[in-house]
Amino acid sequence: MFAAPSVFKGVGMDRTANKYNKKAIFLNSVKTYVSKPQNVILILFGIVLTFTTIAPIVAIVKDTFVIHPGTIDAHLTGKSSGYTLVNYLDLFTSRLAVTNLWKPLLNTLLLSAFACLISILYGGFFAFLVTRTNLKFKRYLSSIFIFPYIMPQWTLAVVWQNLFSSNAVTGTANGLLASLFGICMPGWWCQGLFPSAMVLGLHYAPFAYILIGGIFRNMDSNLEEAATILDTPRWKTMCCITLPMIKPAILSTVLLVFGSAMGSYPVPHYLGLTTLSTKYLSMNAQYTGEASILAIIMMIFGVAILMANQVSLKSRKNYTTVTGKSGQLSKINLGKCGKYVTGIIFIILTFLTSIFPILLFALETFLPNPGDYSFLYTGDMSNLTTKWWLTNTNTADSSLYGQMGILYNSTIWNALKGTLLVAVCCALIAGTIGTLIGYAVSKNRRGRLASYVNGMAFLPYLMPSIAVGAAFFVLFSNEKINLFNTYTLLIIVGTVKYIPFASRSALNSMLQISGEIEEAAVIQNIPWLKRMFRIIIPIQKSAIISGYMLPFMTCLRELSLFLLLCTQGFILSTTLDYFDEMGLYAFSSAINLILIVMILIFNTLVNKLTGASLDSGIGGN
């Protein structure tokens, strides 16, 4: 037998020792790494979010190559199953490319851009008035200004139709303006890009108000005053000092509004604009694979916006607004009359965007026929009816299309229960996951994994809702997992989509907490759970509650995201869409009312209980 020399034996032993040392070092480093809860959170959610974000994308990409029976790909390939590239070829090169792709794409981009512009101009100007002037009625205006965001986004679209449609221009019955005053607005005002952009701009203006308002409020006016002393023209001060200061807020607004507007289905649908999201639905019957390509295009824009934001983040360090030096906020005097006149103008504007829709919806539920306001000019109150509320059989009145009155309609009340279930579950899960992610990312904010998890958590928000819904529909409609029309699916999708609300809210608040506070507890050997519940959460209670409230409120009124995932009676928003399309406006108006009232009650309750509200710190509060 060959015996190894002792020298070699020693080397061998050293190597073994080294090997064990390396293994021990590795195991130790792993142990140290996982002993920090933030690292475990990052690993766990890194894996989970990779699946929940990437898997739907992969599923919908695959769908673009699959042959669907009875659709264009089956027709062009002559096959009823298998894979093909023909959907790409047909969408990009056929004579329908302009109709099916380029025109909707252009409309979508214009709509998103104009919605951003309108929301920034309107919301930003209002933020300026509230924070930098002596405007009157600030407290009231600040609360009422965020109503359009709280309400479902199609609310204003329906109001726009009811106000401005006319027989002469839109070829339908007269709306309120034409009926009462004989005013017929031009076509471009009533349908298409302009009203869609206006409605979405008004809906998202509260974003701009909250974000820009926050900076205006913290901005040191010494800089502007210095410019005034140096005799700088006002426009130059605005362009060179004020606007650069609020640039990060403007970019954030663009970031949030662009993706949301791009994925909006109900607004362009109601106001007659063909966008990628409306085209997705209309093509889905015969051009299923090509419709999936449209969803992918929308997603690409979401990713592009995220990347553009990363680039813009690098330049933000040049625009510090809060410094260690003393600062002061001087307010511009609007004048004795000016402060009242401006306030009243905004009271009227906010009435039209916030109060009027609610009144209109309430009134609609008592009209004998949809849009039949004849009682207004005849004065005959017998032309009003309670049948939409009180009918308790489904055969008594043919105008109800076999439905029972709202109070007795099990479809509506079951849908309400479903909506509440989905909203509560989404809020609890998304809020908790988001808070944990925010905490973990704040602890490791320079780490690659933290950056990855943060990006993955935020990405679904930037993807258009309709595209996310389409992707999850494809992912969970197969032989192995079939979750179509289940609350499980809605909760999963809602959670993934709304985690960013909580993670961003938590991250921003966690970054404000100095590491020393938790370190002191660590030295005392306090367990992590206790540190969270006794120290971290109580300190940032308000921001964390916002992280639960935002998913809850958004989920209550979400349509685009859930449209493809369930049937009409499943949740309130799809039920509303169903009744609205049927022409049962009394029912859809009642559901709108229920949603608005419910959101307002929850918002007020949380505000009273915790002091957290969307506009806190900007307006009068």
Binding site: I72, A74, G192, Q286, Y373, Y401, E581
Partner: protein
């Protein structure tokens, strides 16, 4: 009729510009292999001779191999049973359970409780919960496809429209199964074995009507596409049966009707339409249409380019009956008039049914069928068969639709009984016997399909035309925005 080479010509187009786009797309798409142009089926591909309508489908494959699904076997047995026997089977199967139905018509929800009442006449202790869903935006096909992937489905049966998609997406794929009730077949002078085709519950008509509070006249179907006319119509992308109506116009009979109506126009109107007819004549040739196909294409082109798209027939009706909708017109489900409540501003008197006017020329509207099917993974197949038999073979079962104007049972006995009960032909007469609402007097299916020149949907023709005439329609620029 619709040759593959013609289809290819219409889809790919001509000229270098298109070719450039094609090349650009090739680059964009990355590694494009020539073989993939017709699909890289791989191991899972299933060749079919005529993809739109034919091929070795799952359903045919099952027949060939003699492997019948459980639902097929139950259907075979059920087709030999009477209504009462089926009812007993249903009671045995579904007592205390929940029945899920899916349909394009909301009336299923009204029919189900009547069906339960009927079963309770046989077994008073019988109890069944139910849920009826009516999806919009063509989602019914996605729902059924998604549900078909489950071992046991959610939906027991469906009441579905659009023969074209039913054939290509549901029947050829084996998702839906036809059950022909014995009594229904007998009423139609046949047997379940002999009968070929789907089981239609009813034909529903959509008719041209207009607001008569102004001076506009619509005495010819071409008037609806004349200069300045923008009829209200459900968008063909959201309700595909609207597209089927347009396909059907290219069929020889209906194209002939359009030609006759065109000839009846005065010279001024003919001069307005002639350039359009001329413009599309080459397309009609390319599409292999008959001699009057160009008139059909001209009418379709003008219709698509001028109709004012609406989300549903309900809002269209709400508009037309309003006094302010002067001179507006529309093509909508006849029955929507039932939902109108008389008020100072709204009245059924404000509308006229175009085809009811003396001397009206051309098509009066179109009809499409609602078909009944079991799902192949039906959780309650016996109950579904009994419910289907109840709706098609009894007056009570059809009463949910029988109350409607323009809704006609395909069971002659039921149709006669419904007319006796509801007197639709005199629906517009008041208690004093006066003809108060002329638009409300339904002249019946026979009148509509002959004198009223109703265009009737033929699933096979539609399936053949969907990617030839259909693609041609898709290329038209739809009317958008305002009338001014």
């Amino acid at each position: 009729m619709f040759r593959a080479d013609i289809i290819k010509v219409t889809r790919t187009g001509k000229g270098g510009r298109v070719m450039k786009k094609r090349i650009l797309s090739l680059i964009l798409a990355g590694a494009m292999v020539a073989g993939t142009l017709t699909g890289c089926g791989g191991n899972s591909g299933t060749e079919s001779a005529a993809p739109a309508t034919g091929g070795e489908t799952q359903a045919e494959a099952e027949k060939d191999t003699g492997e019948l699904s459980e639902v097929d076997k139950i259907i075979q047995e059920a087709e030999g049973l009477s209504m009462e026997e089926l009812a007993k089977k249903a009671i045995e199967e579904s007592n205390g359970k929940t029945f899920y139905g899916l349909g394009n018509s909301s009336r299923g929800k009204t029919a189900l409780p009547l069906f339960i009442e009927y079963l309770q006449t046989i077994d008073p202790s019988y109890k069944m919960d139910y849920e009826w869903q009516q999806p919009k935006n063509n989602k019914i096909f996605e729902q059924l496809s998604a549900d078909s992937l489950k071992g046991t489905g959610t939906f027991a049966m469906t009441l579905i429209q659009d023969g074209n998609q039913i054939e290509s997406k549901m029947v050829q794929t084996g998702i839906l199964k036809t059950f022909i009730p014995k009594e229904w077949a007998e009423a139609n002078g046949t047997t379940p074995d002999q009968y070929e085709g789907y089981l239609p519950l009813q034909a529903q008509n959509k008719v041209f009507m207009f607001n008569n509070t102004g001076d506009a006249t619509y005495t010819n179907c071409w008037d609806f596409v004349y200069e300045g006319s923008h009829p209200l119509f459900m968008d063909i992308d959201s309700e595909v049966v609207g597209k089927n109506f347009l396909y059907m116009l290219t069929e020889d009979t209906y194209a002939g009707w359009l030609k006759e109506a065109y000839d009846a126009l005065d010279s001024e109107k003919q001069a307005y339409f002639a350039p359009v007819v001329e413009e599309v004549s080459k397309d009609a040739e390319d599409l292999g249409l008959g001699e009057n196909g160009k008139y059909a294409l001209a009418w379709i082109k003008l219709w698509v380019e001028n109709y004012n798209a609406q989300t549903d027939d309900g809002p269209i009706c709400n508009t037309l009956v309003t006094s302010s909708a002067t001179d507006q017109s529309g093509l909508l489900v006849y029955n929507k008039l039932r939902s109108v409540e008389e008020s100072a501003d709204v009245s059924k008197k404000n509308v006229t049914i175009a085809a009811y006017q003396d001397g009206y020329q051309g098509i009066g509207g179109y009809a499409y069928n609602h078909y009944l099917f079991l799902t192949d993974n039906s959780p309650l197949p016996w109950t579904a068969c009994a419910f289907i038999a109840y709706m098609t073979c009894t007056e009570d079962g059809f009463s949910a639709w029988g109350k409607d104007l323009g809704s006609y049972s395909f069971n002659p006995d039921v149709m006669a009984a419904i007319e006796t009960t509801y007197q639709h032909s005199k629906g517009g007469y008041n208690e004093a016997g006066e003809n108060e609402f002329d638009c409300y007097n339904d002249r019946g299916y026979d009148w509509w399909t002959t004198t009223g020149k109703l265009v009737v949907e033929d699933p096979e023709y539609c399936a053949g035309a969907s990617f030839s005439v259909g693609s041609w329609i898709d290329m038209l620029t739809k009317y958008s925005g305002s009338t001014k």
